[in-house]
Each structure stands twice: as structure tokens, then as C-alpha cells.
């Protein structure tokens, strides 16, 4: 090894955005460095400038941004001592283009919108290869297929011809990872690369990244909120708050000797599996939102108190998609794909059902069918006894006010041409609630309750950070004061402190107003914190459903067990065994009783206590009990 050097050195980087009558200082004199072959984790508050740093390194920050400082890149492939200041390179010039994609790969935080909707996945992944390598088309295809397999696609050949909007959130994220890695970069900027992935796949990806790191000496700037991931993969950690570096050090230093009050608050806010039911998460700023006031402006009727009747009842939901792969006019019709397969469950009023499961298992699709955004092929959705799918006219109008959804993709679910103020007041406007001033008040209360500021009301969605957008989505879902909210990965982009604030808010609302949640998440700790019962999905079916404690303590289904085993812990003393995780993911490794094989009828077997698991109808009880 020659003399030690930094792969990337960021010195005194500042980035500001102009805003009417002011400016947003997204990054303030931040400095950090990356060693070759090492992982530096960048953690910090939502909106603290992490993504902006990532983009600025590549020179793809928005045109309006004003940047100062130095970004020194010391390419190991270049002759020693040849350090380039990336900032000084001409925008989109040849020099920087040679680095982008080839030497520095980037995984964007929002994989959902970072793909062009009109090009196939294969085409877009292949593109970097096409520019930076001299491979033949066949070789390239081979490589793309390999990469797709590596990131966990069971059928890469099929994925190559698919369009982004046909993939689930997690699948898109994996495609994004494949795209960033395809050229074996020296530096990978991974902006929350695993938020949309279930823990087993997350583990697989992390292992892949570590492999590459070891094999190719790839360095990684890992932006993440999951301190568990940090503890497991990072060598060094940089903590940011409001655009400034608050604390930096080795993983050991950070986890064992957190010094800055912010970092300590952050550590405290991590949800743990051993939390008591009533224990609350500790946000950075212990704000108490007056839940009644928040919704009084908008709420139509107070929920009926009393026993816990079933609010939402889902029976036999099924949905099949026909991929649009067959390009060209006369291509053969592609095989239809069953995304959701006979899903049934109930949620009582005031209860939270956690929905976890494999990426691409149909969780989002179920959620969308519940809110009647997608029409199921078969099945029934009953809201307090009313058929959701059959509602028309005034009934539908009422229904729309009772059920809301927080979308997994915060970017595309916010109209790009509306200010946040308009977005938040729109639902009220639609249902003629209050006057202009009252609506503005309501919007203000909503935006504050999710930790944003008044001035954000006049900004457009694109100018927010990922976490901020997600919070706007939550605020909008709350605006109408619905009874049921489908939260599809509602807090995946939030740092733990803000997450704590939002989760507490949701819990308070539930407590005070009896809100009901269908809570889709990959973060099992969060699900554990929020849910009363948890359902686990795999390949379009619910494989296990049980009350929270039961599922956490005595998971029956091998997939559930694999999931639980793959959760990374924010504790350097309990590292994840990457070599073993993910074994339970594929049904091949499952015991026969759970293995879905042609001809074998599968049913939900009741294990008592509301614990049901999907198994062969003829399976022996003992085989099923853990």
C-alpha cells in the first residue's frame, strides 16, 4: 500500500438556495473526508443537507444553488497526487462527465421518480455502461442481468423490459442500486439506499456493497437514517444538523461516546424492540401538538366511542397486472402477474395493523385498493360495513373524507405545480370546509405538527428534502381528519428524531380521536412501536398475521423469522451476520408445511390468539408451531 490518501475530501462546503425574500442555507461550511475502501456514514436530521452534499459532489445540484468550498477527489485509478477539485470543473463538462457514473456512482434517495417513465429499466441501467465501457451489447446485457440478480431480482430477464412504473418501490430502489454499481465506481454515494427494502433484502444489499468494497476498494458515502445500518457497515460517521457537521468520528466513537447533545438525542430517539406499549419515543424537540385543535377545523364527526367494532374489513382481494414489456406493435402479450393474491384481514377502530413483508409483495397494491385508488380484480373492501368499492356519488364523497393514504413515493404524490400551502388546503377546499382564513390556519397547524415551518407553505414540493416531502404527505393525509389512514412507508425517509415526533403525533391522534391505521413499513422496530397487530406479506399473500407481541416473540412462518433475524441493531456490539441473513427468504429453504407447491392447497391456519399463518391445509399443527 502506498502512502495513505483521502479518496474524497470536502472542505468548508456551503450550499445555499435563494428563496423569496430570503435564502435557505442547506449546507454550512461542512467538511468531511472519505477513505478508499471505507464507508463513511452521513446521518442527521431530515433536511440537514445530506442529499445536497451528495449531489454537489457530482455537480448535479439544482441550477439555483450557490456553492462554495472545495471537493477534492483523488481517483485511485489516476496517477498519485492527481487530485481534482470537482467544484472547479465546468458544469457538465467532459472532465466531470468522465467521473460521473464511471468513477462515482450515485444512488438517489427517491428511486421512484429518478427513472424516466418512458424507458425500460434495462435501457436505463445499461446506459452508463454504454457511455463508459467498450463492451459489446451482448456483454452489456450479460452484465446488466448479473447486476440485477445481485441486487435481488429473482427474474432479471423480465425486469430488463419493464417500465419503472410497473415496479414496486423497493424494486425500483434495487434497480437504482444496480444502475449506480454497474460501472464498478471508486466512490458510491448512496443516499438512503435501503429505505424501501425489507430487512432481508437490505441485508443482501449491504452484503453486496461490502463485497464490492473489499473486492474493488470502493469507498461509500452512505446517507441513512437507520442507525442500525450505520452500526453494521460504517467505518466513520459524520453527524449533521441544520447544514452543519455536529460530530464526526469512527463508528466506535460515535456509538460508544456520543458527545454532542444532538447526537445523544438522536440515539435516544431510536425505537427499540423492548419498548413497553405505553412508552413514548423521545423526539429532539418535545412538542406537544393539540390533536383536537389540529383536526377540529376539519373533522366532520367525532368517532363513535364504545367497543372496538371492525372498521375495515378486507376480503379476498386479488389483483393481476399485465406487464407492458412486449415492446413494439406486435409483440406477444406478456404473462399476467398476480401482485395480490386473496388477501383478507380486519382492522378494528382505533387499532393499527402493521403490514410488513418482502419488497414487491403487494403491500402498496393492497393499500391502494383499500383507498380505492386501484380497482381489485376480485374481493371486497368494507368500511364500517359499507362497501367501499361500490360507493357512488355522495357516499363516495363521504368515504373519501374517511379514508386517506400516505403514499410511499412522496415526490410523485405531491402535485409539482402547487405550493405546499395549496396542497394542504386543497382537501378542505374540495369538501368546502371552513373559509379561506380557517383553511390557512389549518394548514399552518398541520405543517407545524410535522415539524416544518410556516414559510414552507409558499414553497413548491421539489425544493424540499426527502423527509420534508414525506412529512407534507402525512400532513395532507391528516388534513381531512379521516378515520382510517393507510400509511405506506410513511416515515421511511425521516431521521429517528423527526420520526419520533411524527410517530408520536400519529399515536396521539389515535389515542385522542380513535384514528385507525394500516401501517406499511419495512422498519420492524417502527412497526413494533406502532402496531397492535402485524401482518406479514410475501408474494402477494399474507403469510402470517398476529398480535404484535405474539409475532415478535413467537413467529411461526419461516419468512417472518428470516425477517426478524435480519434486523440490524444500532449497537456495534451486536453486528449482523451478513452471511446468514436472507436464507429464509426463498421458499426453497422453508419446511414443507409452508412451501407453496403446485397442487398443494394453502390456507390460513389459526394458531389461536388471532395468530394465523399460511400453510398447507393438511399440515400438522406441530410442524407449524415454533
Amino acid at each position: 500500500m502506498s502512502e495513505p490518501r483521502d479518496l474524497l475530501r470536502i472542505e468548508e462546503l456551503s450550499v445555499t438556495f435563494p428563496l423569496y425574500g430570503g435564502r435557505i442555507e442547506a449546507v454550512r461550511k461542512a467538511s468531511m473526508r472519505l477513505l478508499p475502501g471505507r464507508v463513511t456514514a452521513l446521518v442527521g436530521q431530515s433536511g440537514s443537507g445530506k442529499s445536497v452534499i451528495g449531489r454537489t459532489i457530482l455537480g448535479i445540484q439544482p441550477k439555483t444553488a450557490e456553492v462554495s468550498g472545495r471537493i477534492l477527489f483523488d481517483d485511485p485509478a489516476a496517477p498519485a497526487g492527481h487530485v481534482t477539485d470537482l467544484r472547479a470543473l465546468p458544469r457538465d463538462g467532459r472532465a466531470i462527465r468522465k467521473l460521473r457514473g464511471a468513477r462515482i456512482g450515485m444512488i438517489f434517495q427517491e428511486p421512484m421518480t429518478s427513472f424516466s417513465p418512458v424507458h425500460t429499466i434495462g435501457n436505463q441501467i445499461d446506459e452508463a455502461l454504454r457511455i463508459h465501457s467498450i463492451l459489446s451489447p451482448a456483454e452489456r446485457r450479460e452484465k446488466v442481468l448479473d447486476m440485477l440478480a445481485l441486487v435481488g431480482f429473482p427474474a432479471p430477464k423480465q425486469v430488463i423490459g419493464m417500465y419503472p412504473f410497473e415496479l414496486s418501490g423497493g424494486m425500483r430502489q434495487r434497480a437504482m442500486i444496480a444502475m449506480a454499481l454497474i460501472c464498478d465506481p471508486a466512490l458510491l454515494i448512496a443516499d438512503e439506499p435501503t429505505t424501501a427494502l425489507d430487512v432481508t433484502i437490505q441485508a443482501q444489499i449491504l452484503r453486496l456493497l461490502r463485497d464490492l468494497q473489499e473486492r474493488l476498494g470502493m469507498a461509500m458515502l452512505l446517507v441513512t437514517h437507520d442507525l442500525g445500518v450505520v452500526a453494521n457497515v460504517a467505518d466513520e460517521v459524520v453527524v449533521m444538523y441544520q447544514g452543519e457537521v455536529m460530530e464526526a468520528g469512527t463508528t466506535d466513537d460515535i456509538f460508544r461516546r456520543p458527545s454532542h447533545p444532538y447526537l445523544r438525542a438522536l440515539m435516544n430517539a431510536v425505537p427499540r424492540f423492548d419498548m413497553a406499549r405505553e412508552e413514548r419515543l423521545a423526539p429532539l424537540v418535545p412538542v406537544a401538538t393539540d390533536t383536537r385543535r389540529l383536526m377540529s377545523a376539519c373533522r366532520v364527526a367525532a368517532p363513535v366511542a364504545g367497543a372496538n367494532p371492525v372498521l375495515l374489513s378486507v376480503r379476498g382481494l386479488t389483483k393481476t397486472f399485465t406487464p407492458r414489456t412486449g415492446r413494439g406493435l406486435f409483440g406477444p402479450r406478456a404473462e399476467p402477474m398476480r401482485a395480490v393474491d386473496d388477501v383478507s384481514f380486519d382492522i378494528r377502530r382505533g387499532e393499527t395493523l402493521g403490514l410488513v413483508g418482502e419488497s414487491g409483495s403487494g403491500k402498496t397494491t393492497v393499500g391502494k385498493m383499500v383507498v380505492r385508488a386501484i380497482t381489485p380484480d376480485a374481493g371486497q373492501v368494507l368500511l364500517a360495513g359499507e362497501d367501499v368499492l361500490a360507493a357512488r356519488g355522495a357516499d363516495l364523497d363521504r368515504l373519501r373524507q374517511r379514508v386517506q393514504m400516505v403514499f410511499q413515493d412522496p415526490v410523485s404524490s405531491l402535485s409539482p405545480h402547487m405550493t405546499v400551502g395549496s396542497i394542504l388546503t386543497e382537501p378542505l377546499e374540495i369538501h368546502h370546509r371552513g373559509d379561506r382564513a380557517a383553511r390557512h390556519e389549518a394548514a399552518l397547524a398541520l405543517i407545524r405538527s410535522v415539524g416544518l415551518m410556516e414559510r414552507d407553505l409558499i414553497r413548491y414540493p421539489h425544493s424540499f428534502s426527502g423527509g420534508q416531502r414525506q412529512r407534507i404527505g402525512i400532513a395532507r393525509a391528516l388534513a381531512l381528519g379521516p378515520e382510517l389512514i393507510v400509511c405506506d412507508e410513511a416515515t421511511s425517509a425521516l431521521d429517528v428524531s423527526v420520526q419520533a415526533q411524527v410517530l408520536n403525533l400519529l399515536r396521539d391522534l389515535q389515542r385522542d380521536l380513535g384514528l385507525t391505521y394500516l401501517f406499511v413499513s419495512h422498519n420492524l422496530a417502527v412497526v413494533n412501536y406502532m402496531a397492535d397487530r402485524i401482518a406479514v406479506m410475501q408474494s402477494g399473500r399474507i403469510v402470517e398475521i398476529a398480535p404484535r407481541e405474539v409475532l415478535m416473540r413467537t413467529p411461526a412462518h419461516p419468512y417472518t423469522r428470516a425477517l426478524l433475524a435480519a434486523v440490524p441493531h444500532a449497537d456495534p456490539d451486536h453486528p449482523l451476520d451478513f452471511t446468514r441473513v436472507g436464507e429464509g427468504r426463498s421458499s426453497k429453504h422453508w419446511p414443507a408445511a409452508f412451501r407453496p407447491e403446485p397442487g398443494a392447497a394453502m390456507t390460513a391456519v389459526d394458531l389461536g390468539d388471532g395468530h394465523r399463518v399460511l400453510a398447507r391445509a393438511d399440515a400438522d399443527m406441530s410442524e407449524l408451531m415454533p
Binding site: I60, D92, T322
Partner: protein, 332 residues
């Protein structure tokens, strides 16, 4: 897709029937008929018309029959490939068009190609260099072309082309080559004459194209997927071509339906001023003189092309953007 195309072809039949009725109404709408206007025109020149022949033709072409019968006669004829008889030219409609058709297509195609060749780079330049001097300058020139009526522009260009370059006014070729078989010299002469009409007809379209392209591109340029593409190290030009441009083409593709008929109808008024040997003036004269079969058959031909163009445009749209599902909405 094949099913969709077949279905659309089937739908074309009632559409075309409807259109044929409309066309027939339009050519029948003006009071009077060809013979009336012919007699009047002759009279205005102080001459007398050959009334006998006119009476004869009137009877022969069923002008005394009720309108629905005339309509059926006309449509029936067209189904047999008989497009009627031109009173003005006194020969079957199919023979009147003659050379004009390919000359029209030549002018129109040249115009369209020139329009595109000019408009695309300029539109892209204007969008990527918004509010630069180049953007303003090109916008100004383009709008100038748009703001001056084509016939005036034609007149001005002809006049000055004649005064300065000695190019004879109007037409598509030197008179010497008329009715001559195609030859090298004739082609050269056509090319020499072509640029004026192409430039004139192209001005308005080019400016429109540039402005539309510019604004559509501006919308797309900052989209996240463009940033992604840049992060892959794609050159700005390539990024532009592959992503925003393709998205911005949506408007353009949806308009193919009207391009096709334009190709054969030509810019009528400019063609009249420039005395081009194209079909535009033919159509206008036929309409003015109420040469109804000539006008009607021509309009029907245009309508047919429109319908085909719309179909092509729909298919192209679906190919361009996979989100567009023409066969109905699967998800909702």
C-alpha cells in the same frame, strides 16, 4: 395492439360516412352552383357563356335531382374509384390533379423537413439557453415570420428575389420545363424555385414549432430523471435527446393527424400568390367556382388522410409513452 388497430379501422367507417356527409353539405352549402357562377364570371368579363353546353351538363350531372340522390350518386361513384367530373376542367377529377399531386408533396415535404431541421435545433437551443441573446433573437425572427401574413411575405420575397437575383417570379420551375419529362435540368430548375415557397410556408410553422418545443422542453429539463441521466455521465446533448426531447415530443406526435393532410393540400393561399403548381390553388378555385365534384373529392381525400393520420398518431403515442394505454384504463 393489432386488435386495437383493427378496432380502430372498423370505427373509421362510420367516421368517414359522417365526414362525407359533412363535405357534401359544405360543397352544397353556398347558394348557386358551378354553372351559375360560370355564367356570372363570363358576364363580368363582358363575354357570353356557352349556355347550350351548360344546360347539357346540368342535366347530365343530375343537378335537377334531389340533394340526397346527388349525395348517393357521388359517394357511390367514389366507392368505385370514380371521383366525379370537373366542370371547370371538363375532365374527370382524377385526371385534373395530374402532376400537381407530387409537386405538392414535394413542396410540403420539403417544407416540413426544413421546418423540422430548423425548428428542432433552435427550439433546443432556446430552451437550454433561455433568455440568452440567441433565444431572444431567434424568437424575434421567428415571430416576425409569424406576424407577417404569408402572402405578403411571398410577394415581398418574390419581388426582391427578382430585383436582386433576377429569379423569375413564382412557380415551381422554369416555364421551359413544363410538360417535359423529368430530367436533370428540370430537377435543378425545380430546386432553384423551391426555396422561396419552402421558406415562406415554413416561417409560420417554424416559429410555432420552436416556441412549443422550447416551452415543452423547459418543463422537462429539470425533471429528476434528467438529473439521474446526468449523474450517469451522459453528455448534455445526449441527455437532452434521449429524455426531455422524447417527452416533449408528445405534443408533436399528437398532431401528426393534421400533418398528413397538410402534405397534400399545401398552403393554399401562399400557393395561389406564388402560382405554385400545387393542389392548394386547385382546391380553392374549385371551391370558389363551385366545381363541386372536384372540391368534394379532394376534401374527402384530405379527410381520409386525416383519419389515417390520427390513427398513426395514436399508435405512435402509445409507443412513445408506455404509460399511455389506449385500450382503456386497466388500473381504475
Amino acid at each position: 395492439m393489432i386488435r386495437y388497430i383493427l378496432w380502430r379501422l372498423a370505427v373509421m367507417v362510420p367516421t368517414l360516412i359522417l365526414i362525407s356527409m359533412l363535405v357534401f353539405t359544405i360543397i352544397k352549402l353556398p347558394p348557386g352552383d358551378y354553372f351559375e357562377s360560370y355564367v356570372q364570371e363570363m358576364r363580368a368579363l363582358g363575354e357570353t357563356a356557352d349556355l347550350q353546353e351548360i344546360e347539357e351538363m346540368k342535366a347530365r350531372y343530375g343537378f335537377d335531382k334531389p340533394v340526397p340522390v346527388q349525395y348517393l350518386h357521388w359517394v357511390g361513384g367514389m366507392l368505385h374509384g370514380d371521383f366525379g367530373y370537373s366542370f371547370e376542367y371538363r375532365m374527370p377529377v382524377s385526371e385534373v390533379v395530374g402532376d400537381r399531386m407530387w409537386l405538392t408533396v414535394l413542396v410540403s415535404m420539403a417544407t416540413i423537413i426544413v421546418t423540422w431541421v430548423i425548428a428542432f435545433p433552435i427550439g433546443i437551443y432556446s430552451a437550454t439557453h433561455q433568455y440568452s441573446w440567441g433565444d431572444y433573437g431567434l424568437t424575434f425572427v421567428g415571430l416576425l415570420g409569424l406576424a407577417i401574413p404569408n402572402f405578403l411575405l411571398a410577394l415581398i420575397m418574390m419581388y426582391f428575389a427578382n430585383i436582386w437575383f433576377g429569379i423569375s417570379i413564382g412557380h415551381l420551375m422554369d416555364r421551359a420545363y413544363l410538360n417535359q419529362p423529368m430530367s436533370w435540368d428540370k430537377a435543378k430548375s425545380i430546386l432553384e424555385h423551391l426555396w422561396i415557397p419552402v421558406l415562406i410556408i415554413g416561417t409560420g410553422g417554424t416559429a410555432g414549432m420552436v416556441r412549443r418545443l422550447r416551452s415543452n422542453l423547459l418543463d422537462e429539463l429539470e425533471k429528476p430523471y434528467v438529473v439521474t441521466a446526468r449523474a450517469k455521465g451522459l453528455a448534455p446533448g445526449r441527455v437532452l435527446m434521449k429524455y426531455p426531447l422524447r417527452m416533449a415530443l408528445n405534443f408533436f406526435i399528437s398532431d401528426i393527424g393534421s400533418i398528413l393532410p397538410q402534405v397534400v393540400s399545401g398552403a393554399e393561399i401562399t400557393a395561389i400568390v406564388l402560382s405554385l403548381e400545387t393542389t392548394g390553388p386547385l382546391l380553392i378555385r374549385a371551391l370558389q367556382g363551385q366545381d363541386m365534384y372536384l372540391a368534394g373529392s379532394f376534401l374527402m381525400f384530405l379527410a381520409f388522410l386525416t383519419v389515417i393520420g390520427v390513427l398513426i398518431s395514436d399508435i405512435a403515442l402509445a409507443l412513445l409513452d408506455p404509460r399511455i394505454r389506449l385500450e382503456g384504463r386497466a388500473a381504475k
